[in-house]
Amino acid sequence: MGTPCHFALFQMQPAFQLDLEQLSARYLELARGVHPDRFADASEAEQRRALEQSANLNEAYQTLKHPAKRARYLLAISGHELPLEVTVHDPEFLLQQMQWREELEDLQDSADLAGVAVFKRRLKDAQQTLNESFAACWNDAAQREQAERLMRRMQFLDKLTYEVRQLEERLDD
């Protein structure tokens, strides 16, 4: 990591449970200071620096804002960089994935908008539970493997959320 820690940028301790309101407030405060618009009249060098700092700030904010990205980042700074794509050995979750997917297909076939709403709520609950489990174990070296597994589950649920959105779009047509 050549750049300073994202958490330090926002004057926060590395943690999974973050005060998102505070994060967002700090982000806006920092963005005010470095945004290129503040340097519309400045020298080219200053403008370039503002551009770089601002881009870095945006990247840090996006990473910390999203639970799955934040989880991944925490694991990366507390251990080693994780490959994006790996074969996951998580049979228990695999089974659940298949169930979720089947349900989603049924919802599509029946064009059941109320059903989609219920599905979305359940998905949200599942994400919440996952977040809590991850928060409890990520900082414990002995549970590293479990933390990585949970992080990958989070990524999957993100993907599923995206698919639900696409389904909503199709049903809207």
Partner: protein, 620 residues
């Protein structure tokens, strides 16, 4: 001009100068320029008091006509009169051909892939045509504000891609405007309503123009605007309402749908008039030739319902893209003339569960907001703190990978500025070069995406396939313009490109246009120099008059005073004419004959200041 230099101690000779900056809405159909005056943002009018400048440019052999009169000539001189040029901005010859036969112009290719339109004044690129519109707005602003502009904020649709943004910037440069910022139109509209000043929360901007529909979801937090998502329909607008009514007339009157262009235009004008009338009345009489009947608002609402529904669908999608719910939206801003249609307002109110904001003229709201932002960027502080706009990129940016697929590097709706890197590797043993193909779009296949640029990274040391690590970095600045660089990490060889969009102008073309614009601008320049000379002369006259009033009797004898008054009178006479050189010479002469008077005044001011003080005080 020695007389001007006398000032009371502690007072600056000139009042604090406000830095002049304007907001420009460079629209498809109409353009406007607005500025902040006495704390109020308002559109600037031309000499006839009109604020709207139709985006129509007609080329004559020796001059350029812009605006209302050019628009009227579109029917009689279609080849030399360019309308809706915004649709061509940043487009390639092939894109333009897809627009098809609806465009009457003769296109020719240039040095770049940009299409040029053949006119009596030679080939004109869309950038030049836009620059001609911008020039008129610049002149209008300078005349209205009485000074040179520090810069301008120009608005662009949120969906404008890199090439279209670059083309807009090029046009501004050609028109002699310093672009402080390209601003997304919806953001400008939200600024116009001052939503940054109080509201916190989500805002939707519903923009239904003549030919396009845009919806944007913004989040406001403590004076910061964040664009969360944008969407829309590039083929949906008020013109479709006219077509719906026209279709209804054809059906009701039993006309043949096969009308000649003249009849068609007349029919559409009738339809448009009926649409506009129905904003204020419940029924309107529609007449076409002998045929005549009443169109009720109810029937009209039914005619446009499918289009209104399409716009609402795009709204729901944008809200979903933002990851929020419809109920979370705290304010809806209406932009574009077509939002005057009562059914549109009603449908939007139903969809969002709240009355939309309509107080500001929907045709002017974008320019008004741009002017507010321009004023802030020019360095003029405003009440209620500074405003910060955080925009997103409207379309994903990526690279071509094996198999003709698009690999996204920066997904759409990412906050800018942003820099992101992705690593790639070689696929052949000993491969020494790699082609980087930069793309924009949401589709998987590169053939469905827009090609922005290609460049090559050379000098990769010989290695087995897959051993080289090539990091490609994308950087998007606050205007949404892209820079791409590639670097082989082992050897450090590097290549980069400032994405000259494939359909932008080549440097040669820009140079030629700048040269042309200097030639054509000679008239403008003469006018401008004359105005400057007049201003200088006027300033001197006022200063001399002031000095004569206060010190003339005390410091001048009758003859001296007469000489000064004669020269001043002479200058006043010359100022009524247009001989800039004569004005300049006479200004010098008046300045010369007042030199001695100025020196005496200075002396007496110093003496008066020193009177009654002792030496110690003065040394301090």
């Amino acid at each position: 001009m020695a007389l001007l230099q006398i000032a009371e101690p502690g007072q600056s000779p000139q009042p604090h100068q406000r830095r002049l900056a304007v907001g420009i809405d460079l629209g498809t159909t109409n353009s406007l320029v607005a500025a902040l005056r006495s704390g109020l943002s308002e559109p600037l009018a031309d000499e006839q008091g009109r604020v709207i400048l139709p985006s129509a440019v007609r080329y004559h052999v020796d001059r350029v006509e812009v605006g209302e009169s050019a628009k009227l000539a579109a029917a009689t001189d279609p080849l030399n009169t360019i309308v809706s040029v915004k649709r061509l901005m940043g487009r390639g010859l092939s894109d333009v051909k897809q627009l098809g036969d609806q465009l009457p112009y003769r296109f020719v290719g240039g040095e770049s892939h940009m299409p040029f339109i053949e006119t009596v004044q030679g080939p004109k690129s869309p950038v030049e045509v836009s620059a001609d519109i911008l020039k008129v707005l610049r002149q209008r602003a300078e005349a209205a504000l009485g000074g040179e502009l520090v810069g301008a904020v120009i608005t662009v649709p949120a969906y404008f891609d890199d090439a279209q943004r670059q083309a807009t910037k090029d046009a501004a440069k050609l028109a002699g405007l310093n672009v402080l910022r390209l601003l997304n139109e919806p953001t400008a509209a939200a600024v116009a309503y001052g939503l940054d000043q109080h509201a916190e929360g989500l805002v939707a901007i519903y923009d239904l123009g003549g030919g396009t529909f845009d919806i944007s979801i913004l989040r406001l937090t403590g004076g910061v605007f964040e664009v969360l998502a944008t969407g829309g329909d590039s083929a949906l607008g008020g013109d479709d309402f006219d077509h719906a009514i026209a279709g209804w007339i054809i059906e009701q009157a039993g006309l043949s749908a096969d009308l000649d262009p003249g009849a068609q235009r007349h029919l559409l004008q009738t339809a448009c008039a009926a649409k506009e009338a129905l904003t204020d009345t419940a029924t309107v009489e529609v007449a076409y030739g002998e045929w005549k009947t009443a169109l009720t608002r109810e029937a009209f609402d039914a005619l446009i319902e499918p289009m209104v529904a399409r716009s609402l669908k795009a709204c729901r999608r944008a809200v979903r893209d933002s990851g929020v719910e419809l109920e979370d939206v705290k304010a809806v801003v209406m932009v574009g003339g077509s939002t005057r249609v009562p059914r549109v307002r009603e449908a939007v109110a139903e969809a969002f569960g709240r009355q939309p904001l309509t107080e500001i003229d929907p045709d002017q709201v974008v320019a008004i907001g741009a002017a507010i932002q321009a004023d802030t960027l020019a360095g003029n502080k405003r009440d209620g703190g500074e405003l910060l706009l955080l925009d997103v990129i409207p379309l994903s940016l990526g690279l071509e990978t094996m198999g003709g697929l698009m690999e996204k590097v920066i997904p759409r709706n990412t906050t800018i500025p942003v820099a992101r890197a992705q690593d790639f590797t070689t696929y052949k043993d000993g491969q020494s070069a790699m082609m980087i193909h930069v793309l924009q779009g949401e589709r998987e296949l590169i053939s469905d995406c827009r090609s922005l640029a290609r460049f090559e990274l050379r000098g990769i040391p010989a290695m087995v396939a897959g051993a080289a690590k090539i990091r490609v970095t994308f950087q998007v600045d606050a205007d949404g313009l892209l820079n791409v660089s590639a670097r082989e990490l082992g050897s450090g060889v590097e290549a980069s490109i400032q994405v000259k969009p494939s359909y932008g102008l080549t440097d040669g073309e820009i140079a030629k246009m700048l040269k042309d614009s200097f030639q054509h601008a000679s008239d403008d320049k003469v006018a401008r120099v004359l105005r400057e000379q007049q201003v200088d002369a006027q300033r001197l006259i006022e200063a001399v008059q002031g000095a004569l009033e206060t010190d003339g009797d005390r410091l001048l004898d009758a003859e001296e005073r007469m000489v000064i008054e004669l020269q001043m009178q002479e200058l006043s006479e010359l100022m009524k004419g247009t001989d800039g050189y004569a004005i300049e010479q006479q200004t010098k002469r008046l300045s010369q004959v007042t030199d001695a008077f100025a020196a005496r005044r200075l002396d007496s001011t110093v003496k008066a200041a020193l009177a009654g003080r002792n030496l110690n005080e003065i040394e301090e």
